[in-house]
Amino acid sequence: MTDIILQLVQIRKSFGDTTVLDGLDLSVRRGEFITLLGPSGCGKTTTLRIIAGLEIPDSGQVILEGKDVTYDEPNKRNVNMVFQNYALFPHMNVEQNISYSLRLRRVDKATIRKTVEEALELVQLEGFEKRMPNELSGGQQQRVAIARAIVNQPAILLLDEPLGALDLQLRRQMQMELKRLQKRLGVTFIYITHDQEEALNMSDRIAVMRNGQFEQIGTPAEVYSRPKTSYVARFVGSANILTGTITGVNGKLARFENHNGIAYISAQDAPVTAGQKVTIAVRGEMVKLTPEYLDHPERPGHPEQPDHPQYPDQPEHPDHPEHLHHPEYPDHPKHIDRREHLEHLAGLRAVVKDKTFAGGVLQVTLELSDGSEMVSKLHGIDLPFAPGDRVIASWEPENAVLVDLEETA
């Protein structure tokens, strides 16, 4: 049974002429870690502010724990926010900052002291009670902001890019700590970030936002490996986006063709028909490169290389040219010799433009004939590709994902 703690129904909001949120729907389950992921200006902070009550939507509803709180004041809502720049009160010390909400509720002093102590222990800042915010490092301020937000035991904790101002190493560490904290407290986290890696690392679910709408909501694995749109594919893990035409379908496999060559994609997830124009997304790390040297033994389709049994280019395959006896079929053996035939085998022709090392991965940027770029991420250092080399880029059919299918669906 899923217990929905928060529901956003058709939220719309504009500032002046700019529509920031355009009919947003979201259901958040109790205890989950959900991340709103999107570039700056996509409306994620506004969404958070509407949940917190700092902003009132033009239309739509915010339902918190079954109650419509759309027009409730922020102090009447059982949610707390960790602001991007922490927003610690500069005139109060750590203890006073953390106990602020408790003091407003006139909680007795002994309880306040105990709660503050526990909160500081939770964020590993014991002994910092009397420090002023300007005497703390960024990471410490961050922890105080979190402690301040959780002492109220909110139903939902809203975090607005809380790690944005920290350096990479601290950010990694805080990611782990936040996740640990969320598990320990069991509090629902709604987390905002523009960093896809952060979102993938921490979230139970990711909601990818674009122009005030959600493009896709799903688990990190779903969003990463089965992006629904080219936008999601590009934003999460910067996949290669290719457009082309389906030139043949055979059960599970479809042949994808554009002026760079032919590739095969899985046709299992979405039905495609021959002649259909499609967009596919392929992750850089799934793209294999082979030198465009026809006799290279590693080249797919090379006579010494056992071809994929399901590829239509296999002689025993019903789609194979040899089975298509129409004499005008361009791949027909009568028209081309084996060498030329190889040109038509799986892979897109490209030229190596640049290569860089990034974290143990060789990132090869390829230029396709139409000037567009493609990236291949390869493991290993001693790879024989230099700028200017002609290569063939290929991938396993199941690693290419059809995206942007709204119009055909």
Partner: protein, 339 residues
């Protein structure tokens, strides 16, 4: 007196100012072989005893050259008159003109006479009332002005600045037109049916108070505005998010953080309102006598310079104590743009 903490070094400029450097050293150090006659040295004695190379000596000469005019100016026009006034206050007045160079504390004892004490008390009272009224009007004005968008901030700022293009004395005469019997105010009130006879506000205590508030409220507005301008409104949102009502958020966060501005506004209001004698003169007739009027009178009409000096010294001490007191009770170390 404030000393610049760093002084630009102009090395290689051998102007040969050895003579000057002996008199004026920016760091307040004793130059070797120099007999200091100045009583206002404040700087710590740095390692002046260390033997200097020719090069460093030349640098200091250049540095000295740079700041000398500043110090000369300050000494001449700030410290000088103050010391002169202090000395003057302990001297006797001559029968008809000038002063007799004879030590006395008579001038200070004279202030303790009830009539003068009363003047001080009246001044403090009026300054207090003025400050209160200025705070009540200027604080909200400055606070909300900081919340306006950039365009409106500019417009409001311009409106506030325009009156300063005219002499404050001339603007004060404008109030006479408003306040005098059958003036603008009386006619307006009668036309509205609120009163049926002229109020004759001019030459009354309220007229002086209004004049004071009018003259001083811009300073409060600017002080509060510059403080509120720096306020991070997200802190108010954070307070609201943590359960504060709008008023609680204002009181615990915005007010506390704009307190330096408010307090410097108070200082900027309170001190001048003790001394703005011409407002009391023009709008109060002879009915309202402030310390400022008293000093003015003693100096210009009674020609009792030593007494005027003594009054001024007491006024200065009083206001200094006031500022120290404000700082103590507020716990605010830095007043906005002041001290």
């Amino acid at each position: 007196m404030k000393r610049p903490s760093s002084v630009p070094m102009i090395s290689g400029k051998s102007g040969g100012n050895a003579g000057l450097s002996g008199k004026e050293d920016p760091d307040g150090r004793h130059m070797p072989g120099e007999e200091t006659t100045q009583s206002v040295r404040t700087g710590p004695k740095a390692a002046a005893e260390a033997p200097r190379t020719k090069r460093t000596k030349r640098r200091i000469d250049a540095a000295t050259l740079t700041v000398t005019p500043l110090y000369a100016f300050t000494l001449l026009f700030v410290a000088g008159p103050l010391i002169y006034m202090l000395v003057l206050s302990f001297l006797k007045r001559a029968e008809i003109w000038g002063i007799i160079h004879e030590f006395t504390v008579e001038n200070y004892l004279k202030i303790l006479e009830p009539v003068y004490l009363k003047t001080f008390w009246e001044s403090l009272k009026l300054a207090g009332i003025t400050t209160l009224l200025v705070t009540l009007t200027g604080y909200p004005f400055g606070y909300f002005m900081a919340k306006l968008n950039a365009k409106w901030k500019q417009r409001v700022m311009l409106l506030l600045m325009i009156p300063f293009w005219t002499s404050s004395l001339i603007r004060l005469y404008g109030w006479i037109i408003i306040f005098r019997a059958n003036g603008t105010l009386d006619r307006l009130l009668m036309w509205l049916g609120i009163t049926d006879a002229p109020l004759k506000v001019l030459y009354t205590y309220p007229a002086v108070a209004v004049g004071m508030v009018y003259a001083l409220v811009p300073f409060m507005i600017f002080a509060v505005y510059s403080s509120a301008e720096k306020l991070d409104w997200q802190l108010v949102e954070a307070a609201r998010d943590l359960g504060a009502t709008p008023f609680q958020a204002f009181w615990t966060v915005s007010f506390r953080l704009t307190l330096p501005g408010l307090l410097s506004g108070v200082v900027l209001t309170f001190i001048p309102s003790m001394g703005l004698f011409f407002i009391a003169d023009i709008l109060g007739g002879n009915k309202v006598v402030l310390v400022g009027n008293l000093i003015h009178e003693q100096l210009m009409k009674a020609r009792n310079w030593p007494f005027a000096a003594a009054l001024s010294v007491v006024l200065m001490v009083l206001t200094s104590l006031m500022i120290a007191f404000y700082r103590r009770i507020s716990g605010v170390k830095e007043l906005e743009g002041l001290l």
